[in-house]
């Protein structure tokens, strides 16, 4: 059994990349039934979706229990892993022979290592909390059972995504979560706009999948394999160009799934789904899959600085983009969605930085999963109280009526804007500091982007917070807000506790760093181009400035119930910086025109066609048919012959 060889380079070296390691086959323990983590929620989905109405009464509870059961299995696997040496913490469980043809020989197998299990914890813990919350949130929905079936399907697919031991099996989970996301965005698809939103999400993600499929094709052509062990083990033997292409193709996939520029346009519309879905899929877990993909493919990205730079650039653009859009949205869920984009931009930037950023990215991913899910659930609670209204200009002063929601939301808000010692402060500051590491223009551009956006984040999140919970009540007449039941508020409280304390629990104690060290190596301390203390102070000051500005404009001042026209910048941000207009003008409209033309041409050929005598329309076929011109007479003759025989037979039969 080979072992991890942690090469700790001296401080001059930019990175201390971990060598790809062999995986240890599972030999006993809970890990042998590690597949249960996926199978349990999958079973739930099957029972609920195929079981029909007879499962209406108990289905949702069963789904919730199965999700928690999956969490328990995950915890047990982690305990088993912690009992093993650091070099044996990548357990591989082969399940069955999946595909084999020629060189392509792949089994379906699971990889249980610190990275995948970190995700398992996030997915099953936050996911199960959201199942509980949904018991309350969806209580009166006639299709509640179907909702929980989809939720379980999502959890299973997401776990498959992170636990797969090959790119091809990862892709099954990858599109599986896409399917679940599609089904849940369109859960209320009796509203045509929601159905369109679901389609948009799926189709934009398919553009990313195009990249994923080509990445795998290139991988297979290069390495003759698609499993992590072989591909990562042999990556250093591939050419620079191949690796860069591989990195860029994987990045394309990651951009779609994680709503990163330029494939970000689906996420805002995805808020059409029920709010627990937005919390689970479109904030805490699925949209972070792109970050997971890059981190998992570290042995490819570490070898290709060009692709890494592309990842950083995508992250930097998106983190600014999302923050700018977030400042202008009046729809509470869309504002949160923009914020999610922006925060994932931070993570993407961090994984693009390479070995100095992987651990930070995963750390921020975990803390963000807590505080963003918490805030989405809070938004759900607000909507619950406001009869599904989402316009923050019609909120205000809810802190009195929704005490629990207000306080739990405040925890998430304080965490995301980076109040010192809270979860977001630990994880985001690490990324900002890492962005300032390097030489030349990069640390300045990327570092300043992350730094300034931290201020913008404080502004837009405070704007959201004040518009919703403070200021004057701007409620519509039929509204009488009341707090949600315990089944909803308890998950919010748990997530709020995580938003406050998880960072302090995981980072200063070294728990997370030590846990992820076998995968990413020790998160080393690097010197940014400006002193760390200066960065921290700047972040703090910008945060205060953002909060103050938001307070003056949306807390103290009266918020008009209809949005003022605003400057060009505001209007642009409201329109998501024209993302849909660009897609419409450059892709959808020309595509639709092309389809229309082709359909018209083809219809003439088919319906006029051969027997109609307009053979001229049969462009290519015409040549073939002209050559067969002599055959026509014969073919008619033969038709007649066949026809006569058959008709005689048929007549005889019908006698």
């Amino acid at each position: 059994m080979s072992v991890f060889e942690l090469t700790r380079l001296v401080s001059v070296a930019p990175a201390a990349a971990v060598e790809p390691a062999a995986y240890t086959p599972v030999d006993g323990g809970v890990a042998q039934v590690g597949w249960l983590m996926i199978a349990l929620p999958l079973l739930g989905a099957a029972v609920l979706l195929f079981g029909g109405r007879r499962t209406d009464a108990w289905g949702p509870v069963v789904a919730t229990v199965l999700s928690w059961a999956s969490f328990v299995v995950g915890v047990l696997v982690i305990l088993q892993l912690r009992g093993q040496g650091a070099d044996e913490r990548a357990l591989q469980l082969t399940m069955w022979d999946w595909v084999s043809a020629g060189e392509l020989d792949l089994s379906a197998g699971l990889l249980m290592d610190p990275l995948s299990l970190t995700f398992v914890m996030l997915i099953t813990f936050v996911g199960s909390l959201i199942h509980v919350y949904s018991l309350g949130y969806m209580e009166h929905d006639p299709d509640k059972r179907r909702f929980f079936g989809y939720l379980n399907l999502f959890v299973a697919a997401m776990l498959l995504l992170v636990l797969a031991d090959s790119y091809m099996l990862l892709f099954v989970g990858w599109e599986g979560v896409g399917l679940a996301s599609y089904l849940l965005i369109g859960f209320w698809n009796h509203n045509p706009a929601y159905a369109t939103a679901a389609n948009k999400a799926f189709i934009v993600n398919r553009v990313g999948d195009f990249g994923m499929i080509l990445a795998m094709a290139l991988m297979f052509a290069t390495f003759g394999a698609l499993d992590y062990a072989t591909v990562h083990g042999a990556a250093s033997g591939a050419g620079e160009l191949t690796l860069t292409m591989l990195g860029l193709l994987l990045l394309l996939g990651a951009c779609a799934k994680s709503a990163q520029f330029p494939l970000q346009s689906w996420l805002g519309d995805a808020m059409a789904g029920p709010t627990p879905v937005s919390a689970l899929i479109h904030a805490a877990t699925m949209v972070t899959a792109g970050v997971y993909l890059v981190a998992r493919s570290q042995h490819i990205f570490n070898l290709t600085p060009d692709a890494q730079l592309a990842v950083v650039v995508v992250g930097a653009i998106t983190l600014v983009y999302g923050a700018v859009v977030g400042c202008a949205k009046d729809d509470i869920k869309k504002a949160l969605a923009a914020s999610t984009m922006s925060q994932i931009g931070y993570m993407m930037l961090a994984v693009g930085l390479g070995p100095i950023g992987y651990t930070f990215a995963i750390f921020h991913l975990v803390t963000h999963g807590f505080f963003k899910a918490g805030m989405f659930l809070g938004a759900g609670s607000v909507m619950h109280a406001m009869r599904d209204r989402v316009d923050m200009r019609r909120f205000g002063s809810l802190s009195g009526r929704l005490k629990v929601t207000w306080l739990t939301f405040a925890a998430g808000w304080a965490a995301i804007i980076g109040v010192p010692l809270l979860s977001g402060w630990w994880s985001k500051d690490l990324i900002i500091e890492a962005a300032f590491v390097g030489e030349g223009w990069r640390p300045w551009v990327f570092g300043l982007a992350t730094l300034i956006t931290a201020g913008i984040t404080a502004f837009y999140m405070s704007r959201l917070f004040f518009m919703t919970f403070h200021g004057k009540a701007r409620w519509e007449d039929d509204i009488d807000p009341h707090e949600a039941p315990l089944v909803m508020t308890v998950p919010m409280m748990v997530l709020a506790v995580g938003s406050l304390g998880l960072g302090a629990l995981l980072w200063p104690t070294g728990v997370l760093d030590a846990w992820l060290e076998p995968v990413f190596g020790h998160a080393e301390h690097h010197e940014p181009v400006i002193p760390i203390i200066a960065i921290q102070v700047a972040v703090f000051v910008l945060m205060l400035a953002g909060v103050a500005l938001a307070w003056f404009r949306y807390g103290r001042e009266e918020v008009p119930v209809t949005a003022p026209r605003g400057s060009f910048a505001t209007r642009a941000a409201r329109r998501d910086l024209f993302q849909d207009d660009v897609n419409e003008a450059f892709f959808r409209a020309p595509g639709a025109a092309l389809v229309d033309t082709m359909v018209e041409t083809d219809r003439e050929v088919v319906d006029g066609g051969l027997t109609g005598g307009t053979t001229g329309g049969l462009t290519g076929a015409a040549g073939v048919l002209r050559r067969a011109q002599n055959g026509f007479v014969r073919s008619y003759a033969l038709t007649m012959l066949l026809g006569v025989v058959a008709i005689l037979g048929a007549v005889w039969v019908m006698q």
Partner: protein, 509 residues
Amino acid sequence: MNFPWLTTLLVLPLVGALVVALLPRASTAVRPVALGFSLATLAVGLGALTQYRTGSSEQFQLTEVHSWIPQFGVSYALGVDGISLTMILLGLVLVPVCILAAWNDVPVDGRRQHVYFSLMLTLLAAMVGVFAAIDVFLFYVFFEAMLIPVYFLIGMFGGARRWKAATTFLLYSLVGGLIMLVAVIGVYLAGPRGTDGFLVTNLTGLDLSVSAGRWLFLGFFIAFAIKAPMWPVHTWLPLAAEQARPTTSVLLIGVLDKVGTYGMIRFCLALFPEASQWATPVILALALISMVVGALLAIGQNDMLRLISYTSVSHFGFIVMGIFAFTTVGGSGATLYMINHGFTTAGLFLVAGMLIARHGSRDIRDYGGWQRVTPLIAGVLLFSAMSGLALPGLNSFVSEFMVVVGVYQRYTWLGVLAATGVVLAALYMLLMYQRIATGPRPVMADVPDMTGREKLVVAPILAAFLLLGFFPKPVLDVLEPAVQQSLQHVGATDPAPAVDTATAEGSGR
């Protein structure tokens, strides 16, 4: 003594067709008898499967060779390799499903129902014959013979323009068939002749002149391209699919059209390797165009049956690309796709049939909101649509992925272009589902959701989606030797991976 498995498979449905036809007028036994015969044939087919040896070195198994017209070198010769065996089994599974689905297509009174189900059983026999023939002339006979039941199934039982559709179908097929007949005779004359001169094994590896090989290749290929159907000779299909009963379309497009791609492998590649290599660039281009054009046309259709038929043009483009990439992965993917497409098409057509039976319209614009009208039917439609867009975990994915990877191995840019199919497929499938199933519940009288019979119809199809998605290996194991064989005929070897991983550490497999 060797049991004549394949002859039994051929004769049993014919006997069934005869029995059904001879049942008394207005008999209620027509459908059960037809179903019984189709199930019995399936059982025999499964028996044949147990006799099939995957590791055998023989090119064909379960062979039966008898002299038929020795003067012309024609033999009654049947045999199967992995590809033809799986195609026959696909037909054997889908025919009972279709009979069950067609249960109420034709009223009981009169003799029309007798004719309808009798024709379906005849079609089954023709399917078995065309895939099992290992004598080129016998193949030709079945190739033409199978037109007859299809012609009448469309012409007698189709929609308003059924005779036009049937005639167009017949004319296209006959044009192709006649061109092929010339080539069939030509290849016989070029071969060793003699009393069994039409046997495929006797015609493989002939020392043909370059031009003779190419002309003969074209003769076969054109017939197969029409059948497949490939752009630009696909134009008979939309009309046929639109006018035919959905069950007829399942058998026609899902199974019989595979004769096109099957024939390319069995005859074009095996008999004319040099010409196959020569024609590859053009064929790959046509296949790519089929894939893209089929998909774009599918996106723009309003007739759901037509739409499904265009998706088939697109999928056949994938299959042909996989075949002519000349890689093990591509070829295995293409032949697996031939099976998968059969099930996917069956799911789509049969669900469309259920909708049409309830609402009386093929026009997608007449639907909307049906997820709230018939949730189960809409659910199965979505399931089938996911199979159609090759969602991983369902059947089509493995095959489509293998085709893209196999093509990419040899032709990087073609692989890239082929991969655009995943985006196009999402468009045509999801837009169709959106227009049919989503939106507000329409104001209309209640219609029943899926009946027990219809559940029985879709259950095997959905099971096939999942089984072939997660456990395709047994099927691939049957297909791969045959694919390898065809690659040997063409003289192609798989491109080696750019990086030698044998020396690299850490293969966890």
